[in-house]
């Protein structure tokens, strides 16, 4: 029964990924930890495998629709490890709660900007 729930959540995770261009980990991790019973570390690692598969299928389809700039994607992806190190460094100097609230504020700001922009584009 909980396997069925996990499958449904993963279906929804993939759907979200395809619709808005994210990996879906935000839903895969809880599906794996809460419904399958993996530990947080196992859930996050296994979710990474699923994200790669889902993003591969999704970007292949989007490429077919003409919606992928490969060179740009390559630059963004290749620089991400640098960011991971920067993030770890940041976490060592700034309290986690401050980082969480800062990113929450940034996310809300971007949400408002997105809506504002979408409404003004004809």
């Amino acid at each position: 029964m909980s396997e069925l729930a996990a499958a449904l959540i993963c279906l929804f995770g993939g759907l979200t990924g395809g619709l808005v261009g994210v990996g879906g980990g935000i839903l895969f991790v809880p599906a794996l930890t809460v419904f399958i019973g993996l530990s947080q570390v196992e859930g996050e690692s296994t979710s990474l495998l699923m994200i790669v598969i889902v993003a591969l299928v999704g970007s292949y389809r989007q490429y077919g629709y003409g919606n992928v700039r490969l060179r740009e994607a390559l630059i963004v992806g290749a620089l991400s490890p640098l960011g991971v190190f920067a993030g770890v460094e940041l976490a060592n100097h700034i309290p986690e709660r401050v980082l969480q609230l800062s990113f929450a504020a940034l996310a809300l700001f971007m949400a408002v900007q997105l809506v504002h922009r979408a409404r003004s584009v004809p």
């Binding site: 395809g18 808005v20 879906g24 690692s45 889902v54 620089l79 993030g87």
Partner: protein, 127 residues
């Protein structure tokens, strides 16, 4: 079709910044890089929603692969069988999601993304 021209230097710096930010946020909060890649491609490069989300997914493939490599000891932590099995409904979902996305107005994608951002923000605040 993808643009054949190489991006100019200032664009490369902006792309590098997006990649670095995406890596930092995914490392810090476990949110995928897409949360930051999609809005910044739209704000900084004027990408349409479909181009931004498609390019984001392609970047995530690389980010995920590099992340898995960086974790090194990941092998013991990945439940390959479970991951592959649950990838099946996830693949069905992403096929459905990309197909639906081609048929709805681009601005609807922005609204959906804004909802996702609000959810992420709430999750971070409640933590």
């Amino acid at each position: 079709m993808p643009a054949p021209d190489a991006p100019p230097a200032h664009a490369i710096w902006k792309l590098a910044a997006i990649g670095t930010l995406a890596g930092a946020f995914s490392g810090l909060f476990g949110v995928g890089g897409g949360t930051i890649i999609v809005p910044l491609l739209i704000f900084w490069f004027g990408y349409g929603e479909r181009l931004a989300t498609g390019t984001s997914l392609a970047a995530i493939v690389l980010i995920g692969l590099l992340g898995a490599l960086a974790e090194g000891g990941i092998y013991g932590n990945v439940h390959v069988g479970t991951g592959l099995l649950l990838s099946l409904p996830a693949i069905a979902g992403v096929l459905l999601g990309t197909a639906i996305q081609q048929r709805i107005p681009q601005r609807a994608v922005s609204y959906l993304f804004a909802l996702l951002l609000v959810a992420v923000a709430l999750e971070l605040i409640i933590k």
